[in-house]
Symmetry: D3
Subunit: 327 residues, 6 copies
Amino acid sequence: MPRVDLPLDQLLEYRCTTPEPDDLDEFWTTTLAENDHPLDVVLSRVDTGLTLVETYDVTFAGYGGAPIKAWLHLPAGHQGRLPVVVQFHGYSGGRGLPQQMAPWPLAGWAHLTVDTRGQGWSQGGVDPTPDPDAAAASSHYPGSMTSGVESPQTYFYRRVYTDAVRALQVAASLEQVDPDRVLVTGGSQGGAITIAAAGLAPKAGVRLAGAMPDVPFLCDFRRSLEIASAGPYPEIEAYLKGWRGRGEQVLNTLNYFDNVHLARRAECPTLFSVALLDTVCPPSTVYAAYAEWRAEKEIAVYEYNGHEGGQAYQQARQLGWARARLG
Amino acid sequence: MPRVDLPLDQLLEYRCTTPEPDDLDEFWTTTLAENDHPLDVVLSRVDTGLTLVETYDVTFAGYGGAPIKAWLHLPAGHQGRLPVVVQFHGYSGGRGLPQQMAPWPLAGWAHLTVDTRGQGWSQGGVDPTPDPDAAAASSHYPGSMTSGVESPQTYFYRRVYTDAVRALQVAASLEQVDPDRVLVTGGSQGGAITIAAAGLAPKAGVRLAGAMPDVPFLCDFRRSLEIASAGPYPEIEAYLKGWRGRGEQVLNTLNYFDNVHLARRAECPTLFSVALLDTVCPPSTVYAAYAEWRAEKEIAVYEYNGHEGGQAYQQARQLGWARARLG
Amino acid sequence: MPRVDLPLDQLLEYRCTTPEPDDLDEFWTTTLAENDHPLDVVLSRVDTGLTLVETYDVTFAGYGGAPIKAWLHLPAGHQGRLPVVVQFHGYSGGRGLPQQMAPWPLAGWAHLTVDTRGQGWSQGGVDPTPDPDAAAASSHYPGSMTSGVESPQTYFYRRVYTDAVRALQVAASLEQVDPDRVLVTGGSQGGAITIAAAGLAPKAGVRLAGAMPDVPFLCDFRRSLEIASAGPYPEIEAYLKGWRGRGEQVLNTLNYFDNVHLARRAECPTLFSVALLDTVCPPSTVYAAYAEWRAEKEIAVYEYNGHEGGQAYQQARQLGWARARLG
Amino acid sequence: MPRVDLPLDQLLEYRCTTPEPDDLDEFWTTTLAENDHPLDVVLSRVDTGLTLVETYDVTFAGYGGAPIKAWLHLPAGHQGRLPVVVQFHGYSGGRGLPQQMAPWPLAGWAHLTVDTRGQGWSQGGVDPTPDPDAAAASSHYPGSMTSGVESPQTYFYRRVYTDAVRALQVAASLEQVDPDRVLVTGGSQGGAITIAAAGLAPKAGVRLAGAMPDVPFLCDFRRSLEIASAGPYPEIEAYLKGWRGRGEQVLNTLNYFDNVHLARRAECPTLFSVALLDTVCPPSTVYAAYAEWRAEKEIAVYEYNGHEGGQAYQQARQLGWARARLG
Amino acid sequence: MPRVDLPLDQLLEYRCTTPEPDDLDEFWTTTLAENDHPLDVVLSRVDTGLTLVETYDVTFAGYGGAPIKAWLHLPAGHQGRLPVVVQFHGYSGGRGLPQQMAPWPLAGWAHLTVDTRGQGWSQGGVDPTPDPDAAAASSHYPGSMTSGVESPQTYFYRRVYTDAVRALQVAASLEQVDPDRVLVTGGSQGGAITIAAAGLAPKAGVRLAGAMPDVPFLCDFRRSLEIASAGPYPEIEAYLKGWRGRGEQVLNTLNYFDNVHLARRAECPTLFSVALLDTVCPPSTVYAAYAEWRAEKEIAVYEYNGHEGGQAYQQARQLGWARARLG
Amino acid sequence: MPRVDLPLDQLLEYRCTTPEPDDLDEFWTTTLAENDHPLDVVLSRVDTGLTLVETYDVTFAGYGGAPIKAWLHLPAGHQGRLPVVVQFHGYSGGRGLPQQMAPWPLAGWAHLTVDTRGQGWSQGGVDPTPDPDAAAASSHYPGSMTSGVESPQTYFYRRVYTDAVRALQVAASLEQVDPDRVLVTGGSQGGAITIAAAGLAPKAGVRLAGAMPDVPFLCDFRRSLEIASAGPYPEIEAYLKGWRGRGEQVLNTLNYFDNVHLARRAECPTLFSVALLDTVCPPSTVYAAYAEWRAEKEIAVYEYNGHEGGQAYQQARQLGWARARLG
């Protein structure tokens, strides 16, 4: 198949050249400070029929105080404080039904799987999480990518990244959890939120044990727009196709959410994955974020895969990587 | 090309068999009563460079008081009270730029071209009209079709149809306009809003001189879902694909907005158009609404056209039809 | 979306009219008798890193003695004889990696997930299961559907169905398993094999506690060829497109493998699922098999889904159904 | 694959219900009379490098006297008067290069392969045959289907069918040919011209020994327009999509060229072929023409083929059929 | 979306390197001289129902004396000699119906909208303009692009460009028009004809006030063939695919019609537009022509648009640009 | 159309940089030695109805002794020992029916057209040739490309190339054939086998008079995987998509079958053809093999063609080239 991006040797050298906004730290420090209200975590036990795992319906107060939904899975009969894996989801997805299991609780760990506000349509499930912010009312191209894209203050992912940092705080605050052993993970948009959460965690006083983003989205926006032929990036171009002349304004907004910049701020070890035929999250943009990660890092490369990435192969690799860190 | 719907002789006989909700009139009477606040019309003159036409930027208070945008075009040097054509737009469109002209002002009439809240992305233009209602925050499949579809009270088109009835009131209230010569028109979603506005106008005390819906959308939802292969109807199925088990709830909501039922309440003459190869607004669903119209009516049939319908041919036909009614 | 098959009320009445081969029972009795060699089960423990589940690599002797691979998952620290769920896989899939978990072991049950010989390409994993039979050498259209389709004796699914019956025998023979509580399940091709295994189980002396086929394949071949627009059925037409004139010969072969006929022979309760927009396994063909099931039965209907069917929703429903039968 | 037309049992009963034009015979009698100028056949020997076959470049005067090109192939060293097969070509094709061999000369017969005026673009070759008629200048949708479709007098196929009848006369007039053993054949458009030539031959005093149309085009236009999803029929709809309101005028023109009507006039035996998955020349329209053939007839049915039809299988069948008639 | 051409900074530097034919000026001088017959303009008033605009059906003698159709729109009640905008149309289009209005007459100017011979099929309308030239009879790939492409003398656009120069002469000759204020415009093929008309106008003694080509076609043929993936350029490749070996002959013909060369000869100011995602008229080929324009020039760049270009945004920009020149 | 590979001037310079396996000669010498069993040629006369040609059904012992089928066509009434053309077929094809004629026997030569084991599905015909080797049983992605790709010893094309060398030996051994005038030809996969047969012929003691590969497949595998967007190369990527991590193993296998390396070993003159828009067998990979050919060579370039290449044009060119060598 025709290559979709640079050959591997050039990917390894590729760097994003867009400078970060001068006030990037200030923007996020302010955002998190403005959203420093109590977490208001509510847990309620759910019967899934799966006797090896104990499951709770979780609600906490996200950006602007909006209620965010999650599932908490714990190994049945657990004892002591457990390591925890916090997981975010791909664009359109969400926590789904409580029976949907990732392998983490089967490894003996807690697992917090968190909704993305305003999404969930591809899975359905129970009680979706709305995006009740006033900024969500703006006229935009359908989907999340251009919701409030007029300014960094109103952009959709300002709310989502803040929700994510608060989800880490929720995880660390649980009585069943060891706050020194918090991992964060997710694929595609979930990978983007993973990097963002890892990059912003230090500002929120959260110390992560590791981050495992897979085929992450929302990296190196300018290049992503020039390469991605599928997935949500083209929503931005669809918006700019109608609203001619707003290109620079939009790119300025997006730059506050570019995970190339947020990766630079992460302090925990990381295991990335990248797929060289990925037309949704082009490999150069994943490498661009990976290149900026300053703590211990490794990357799994899937040469002949598209956006599905490593799937079970990567899950197995993550399990090994996590076991080495979480015991 | 394979036919997309019934053959013409059967289209003429086709009737929608879904009964209307028992409380349909109550629902709409209540909705309009709850939104009976002042119109708060603001006009401001715009320079388009087109010397034959005078153009105004219009804002009025729609559903819930939200500001709705429109352009008002008047023939330059007009005298006396003019007939007016109120136009609504297709899904994703809007009033666009003030230079975009329909033929109505060139015929010597006023023309009020009205935004659809939350849309406009395919055209861009000036100051889009947001949809600031709390119900718009719900998690839904991207696009307008499933926004608030959980109940008739929260559904997107409750707000849009109400905005439309108020746009008729705005048009009739203008000092340059003869309130006895108000026509309403639009294609696709604009055709749907045309029928809805005509059907609800009597409840709002608006007497229309005519309605000209082209290839109208939002008619006979059950059948539309079973036939339409393109356009916005499939958004509903995409929502139900994820949110399994909500089919009847959603169809119940949609039934309050079905133009088969609202057509039954219209009291003015009408000129419909239908395209027999239309995969977006299937011809049987257009005929289903047309069949219920009880006032004087005619329909232009485009046998070999898809959703583009009659285009300039229909415009010419509408001009003739309107001239016969408006002078 | 345009309907892909009959409307629901007609689906409920639809029956396959192709008579079964006169010697169908003889064919299968002979086939199973010819393959009544020892099961030669070999188990070897695998470390998956998942502490709640114990996993074994399983090999047993299938049709013609060929080695068939499976994973056996058991809840860690299990005691006594467990219920077991035997799972077969969709076309192109297989048991995959040992970390890939279905919910069954989390419910406290044994889970045997079995390869389909000659497949597995869409997942990869560990040690694929070849199809070393001489009949597999025939020139055929790529894929499994026409492998050996010249006669019932040489057809691919003769080997696969036999492997499946033997997998049930393997499950029932395990020391950790209660042979009176064996369930069988699978989706698509896995659903086809589920029905076939349930229909043939009585001939092999296996008494099943239940069968849960999802969106099953290989039912009502004549109609499937006339409706399915995606998936493997069109491989048969591709074969017949080149090898003109072999239609009746091929349909005669397929009739020995039609699950409409094998469903008629099943003796255990069943929970089917069907998706009304399924273009791979058309809903009428699923109903055709369901109609012939003579034991206790129910069917989950997904009105707005394609071949993905109910996914997590169906998994939750299956868990409840299985709990009611297996405790 | 979803069936594209009626099931086989209904195809056998299907009849076209469009009545033929009252003046159909008059139209064609006049057309042929107006084009009764000398054939002006010119042959010139060509070296193809194929020693078993002798090849001539042929030019003759077609409709309006325009020069039409053909190749004449004869078995090398032939003796006496040979049977001849006259072949017409599919839409876009033509006689191509002189090295392109059909099996006819290898069977010991003469073979005259004739250009279609204005076509040939898909093959290239030597000296294309233009369509210099004044009627060809009309503005029409690209391709041949709507060239001059405004009236029967100006329509493209008036010229082509006349050229074809004259090609039969050319063949019968050759000194190497036995005028009592003339066969005509062709596939798709070539099949259409075959039927037309056979139907018009009696008016031109040509007695044919047989006609072998494969998957013929230009039959039962109304139905073809409603079924065909590929190939040239949709050109007609593309024309009517732009030129709204001309539907009946165009269908009236086409009716003079419908091979359902011309088949009724054929007097020689025939071997048809039809493909049941043909989306270009729908099988019901082929059966509609076949049903009207009043002389001895048979039809080869390719159940799992599209417009490619029987290819080499049909060639073999034709050879046998022709041998039985031509010796 | 993947970029379709060079990045913007390289577009600005890009130059076409194909040298122009030595006899280019001679070719066009001869062509125009051979077609210097009287214009034979006939105007007849049409009732459009649009009271602000007066419309005339125009016929004039084009290349070879063939009658070319146009509409002339004038502001009702106009006085004195008006500026005029002459508009040409995109491939397949034409003047359409007389009710189809561009904004020019609304700005108080005359507007002459001119048919392209042999086209018009995508719009329909009234009385299409045929292409009765003998060269149009040649066998070519369907569509206009290869009609007569065998030589510059016979090529389709020789006739079209000549018609266009004569349309400028018609406009300048009208009694209602000020011959010193003639603008020419058009999009896509209309943009190509705009450049050609501007480049050839000096040879015909026409002095233009400005040219406004949008996303122009027929520039830098060699590169266009290597980049364009949609629209009419691929017709040329389809022709060469069949008629193997004619590549250089065809490129030689096209070079006489390349607007890179004709742009070099234009003497009036210009406003271009270009769309950076245009797959029909690749942006580098537009810049190639723009780079050669030697008079005052500016270009509107639409970064996120395809061949639709700026639409209403560009119309607004053109109005401003034209007002500054025409008053 | 966007170019699919390098421009022509760079194609001429392109070289494959993958080194050949150190033991390439040993691998093939051993393979051929292991398959040096008697040819066991069986001929039986077939009646095709074509009187100018005499046809035989041929069976010979291929790799591992498996029976390989072919047709032998001879000019009727031939005398003395004839030149012979041995032809191999494209992927999915085969010898087909005995009536299918290439031009070779019409030029007075013998023609041996040989099946590819395990293929033939796109043509049907008589008695397909199976691939009964044990290595064919492996689980692989459907189609031939990954059958046994785990090692050079088990790979599908080891068997096919050996069959081909033996087919040359069969041809040379026929009593009707002059063993000094053996040509080999084929297109696509048939072109690949042509090069392989020519490269391996010296090891088998066969002296060829020439080789005519058209748009050959299986050249420069690494680059082919990066360019080809259609045809069988993507089967390899589909296999590696599931079986992650096997890339280098597979590329190592393929390197033993790369015709860049085998072309280097050919000793006879050659006429290649290449198509510059070929997305199945990218032109650079054809040039890569051509560049390594060390005997007399020429190449026909089809600039505007895809994988269909030169068709009848190339056939005519081959006839001329062959006549110059075979008389």
